[in-house]
Amino acid sequence: MANLNVKINDLELKNPVMTASGTFGYGLEFADFVPLNEIGGIIVKGTTLEPRQGNDYPRLAETAQGMLNCVGLQNKGVDYFCENIYPQIQNIDTNMIVNVSGNSPETYAACAEKIATLDKIPAIEVNISCPNVKSGGMAFGVTCEGAASVVKAVRKVYHKTMIVKLSPNVTNIADIARACEAEGADSVSLINTLMGMAVDIEKRKPMLSIRTGGLSGPAVKPVALRMVYDVAHAVKIPVVGLGGISNAKDAIEFLMCGATAIEIGTANFIDPAVTKKVKDGINDWLEAHGVKDVNEIIGAIQ
């Protein structure tokens, strides 16, 4: 068995495999398929200060090697999470990480402050990249000033590990990453979904209720890899890579491009047991290549 432990700032992961927010529920939904304690970290559903109903149906369009979604951060709010969900997940033996969203720096901070009181939540992922909400979300992730304002506000109230999730819908993602690092982010994760569109030619209408949505799945992987490489070479803080990862080979590509850990998203829908397979597959590859520690391959591509 190779050493699979990695660290994101003070956050120790037993392996580099995490789950992407919005694709793994609260973990419990997948407990029949994977031993949750074998996953390095579970990033749960996007949580906001106030409850959100999300966008109207239809929220989904299948595309070539991927899918578009426009869910729009449907969740019952942070108070509901603290009172009703947290008690159910606090004893899962891995890093349970909450993805936090808002519509102003203040609401991000207020939500993060409430999560900070939960002992068994060692980290948050600050989502400044949701493409499916009108105000907030991605609006903050597409400018350095916007990103900095959210990170600064959250950093004041949140002292555990803060990962900031970046949008690929920008001119230069490395600049945004640097802005987050400068305001004290402990890590950045990328990429969130790419904005896209799908059309029903019979109805002559968009497939999605709000016309556009976020593209995910294997189709986005090459774009994600390039961005992870760029960001890993632009900042000193650890980078978490995601975007179309479906198997151990994909994951290793991200690690080699500079990701310290990876997240698996849409692939959970196709194979609910994929997380464990990726974790085992990384170990198998390392053993087959005589690599004793996964950290040796992180950033192997200069």
Partner: protein
Amino acid sequence: MKKYILDLQVVSVEALSDKHVLIKLTDSKPLPEMLPGQFVEVRVDHSQDTFLRRPISIHFVDREHNQLWLLIASIGEGTRQLSKLQKGDKLNCVLPLGNGFTMPTSKSQKILLVGGGVGVAPLLYFGKLIKDYGAEPVFLLGARSASDLLEVDLFRKYGRVYITTEDASVGEKGFVTDHSILREEKFDQISTCGPKPMMVSVARYAHSENINCEASLENMMACGLGACLCCVEKTTKGNLCVCKEGPVFNINQLSWQI
């Protein structure tokens, strides 16, 4: 209920019409517990044009032969690929998913099961279990034409069958809600599955007659597990996932105009 990912083996694929196939699946181990109204997420292999799994109703569970039956209408690329499966092929299934229909609570109850098109699929197994329990299932099946009616003889094994077709080729002419049985008999519960306009009409009838009614929805899904929140339906409790909180809903929970 525990969920599984299984590579089930195709026992047979039978064409029921020019666009419907009946696929019978088995496994080397006894198949898991499944309830009528639940569904299976099947993986579509060998297709460049599909990515997500396809949710398919549990049509029937034959415990004697350890078989799971799926009734598939070829309506898109995914279901077209599934209809090409052959004996001996493997089909990767996540099951059982969602909540089933409500079973009768007394043997004196008469349950009307209303199906339209391929929506008849979950009603066969439900009808069997109602009969096994000792209550009476009555089937009301609607189709465009005689050639779209599926497995009428199988349904007859478990209860009386009434039929409507839009072209009057079999049974009474019109939609299911036009059938005379609705005026002649009183039912204790109605369960329906089929095209949404049909289910709304059935719900309207049930509501006006003060009969408890549940409908099985088929919103477009990705995960099937309540994780992605794509298949939501507006309900009295807000947006709920059809895959996890449904697919069977009591009509009083839905925001349909009835």
